[in-house]
């Protein structure tokens, strides 16, 4: 799975996710990627989110929208919201994976509970960050 979240100079957010699914999947299984709110979500008032991992868990937990709700209703920062959803809620249910999130202040969260997540980010003129492992 691949994904991107972006903030433009006009203050608008967007999220995108694309995947080939799971190896050896049957019965036209669909994961969280194309499910708006589960694997992909964007709202200028809160954040943009793209998820990756074991899709069934992300669908049950409505992960992307859950992060947005925690920001909107509970006033959490995106880092706090992502940590809670990925490291607490998702992990307790056995869901493996992670997500990237971004808000209109340019704050970025790259959160995962698996051994690694291929990830990168760049903000303003800051150096590009690239990571694979924890």
């Amino acid at each position: 799975t691949v994904g991107a979240v972006a903030l433009d100079a006009a203050g608008n957010l967007a999220a995108a996710t694309s995947t080939g699914g799971m190896t050896n999947k049957k019965f036209n299984r669909v994961g969280d990627t194309p499910i708006i709110g589960a694997g992909t979500y964007a709202n200028n008032a809160t954040c943009a989110v793209s998820c990756t991992g074991h899709g069934e868990y992300f669908m049950r937990a409505v992960v992307a929208y859950d992060v947005s709700c925690l920001v909107e209703y509970k006033g959490l920062t995106i880092t706090e919201a992502c940590l809670y959803v990925v490291q607490e809620k998702l992990k307790k249910q056995g869901g493996e994976g992670g997500l990237i999130a971004l808000n209109t202040k340019g704050e970025i969260a790259l959160t995962f509970n698996s051994e690694g997540m291929y990830r990168a980010s760049k903000r303003n003129d800051e150096p590009t960050y690239v990571g694979i492992y924890e």
């Binding site: 799975t1 691949v2 994904g3 991107a4 979240v5 972006a6 903030l7 433009d8 100079a9 006009a10 203050g11 967007a14 999220a15 995108a16 996710t17 694309s18 995947t19 080939g20 699914g21 799971m22 190896t23 050896n24 999947k25 049957k26 036209n28 669909v30 994961g31 990627t33 194309p34 499910i35 708006i36 992909t40 200028n44 943009a48 990756t52 991992g53 074991h54 493996e96 994976g97 997500l99 971004l102 340019g106 970025i108 790259l110 995962f112 698996s114 051994e115 690694g116 997540m117 291929y118 990830r119 990168a120 980010s121 760049k122 903000r123 303003n124 590009t128 690239v130 694979i132 492992y133």
Partner: protein, 177 residues
């Protein structure tokens, strides 16, 4: 000046250092860096967040290393079924496709669903027909073939399991039959 920012991912899972050669690790770093900098350039030139995420994901879909687009994993039937979604934070508009085959860049098809249909999610053959109508690129099945993904599929079939893209290691001493 307002901030601009972009973040990307190329999948998560059990990424075993022992199985990721230095050469392959460098390739992943380079691909991630190229993609995020492509998106950043779009933003730096005043492009929209929507355009940045679409173009960045297209770059990753065209890279054989990642499980999306060209590098997609095999289904049980030995095919490739692709899913994608895009959402605009300013308008709340969204578009998605699921289970499409031979679409080169499913994210562009998802964006077309958002912009040129009254729907949010199209699936399978219907989504492919819509793709032909709006003129997105299709590729032959061979375009999506990768030997590593094929071995992953064979290993998963042998143990009758389904696997996350980065959680199906081919162990060096594993007999694949």
């Amino acid at each position: 000046m307002n901030p601009i920012a972009i973040a990307i991912h190329g999948g998560a899972g059990t990424i075993l250092r022992a199985l990721l050669t230095e050469e392959k690790e460098r390739a992943y770093y380079q691909a991630l860096q190229d993609a995020v900098e492509k998106g950043h350039q779009i933003l730096a030139k005043g492009g929209s967040a929507l355009k940045a995420v679409e173009e960045t994901v297209r770059e990753l879909e065209d890279c054989i290393l990642f499980n999306a687009g060209r590098g997609s994993v095999f289904t049980h039937q030995g095919e490739h079924e692709l899913d994608a979604a895009i959402m605009c934070g300013a308008t709340g508009m969204a578009g998605a496709v699921a289970g499409v085959r031979r679409v080169r860049n499913p994210i562009t098809l998802a964006k077309a669903v958002m912009q040129h249909s009254e729907h949010v999610l199209l699936t399978g053959e219907g989504a492919e027909n819509f793709g032909h109508q709006v003129g997105v690129a299709f590729e032959p099945e061979e375009y999506f073939f990768d030997a590593f993904r094929y071995e992953q599929w064979q290993a998963a079939k042998a143990e009758d399991s389904i696997k996350l893209d980065h959680s199906a290691p081919i162990l060096p001493d594993k007999k694949l039959g």
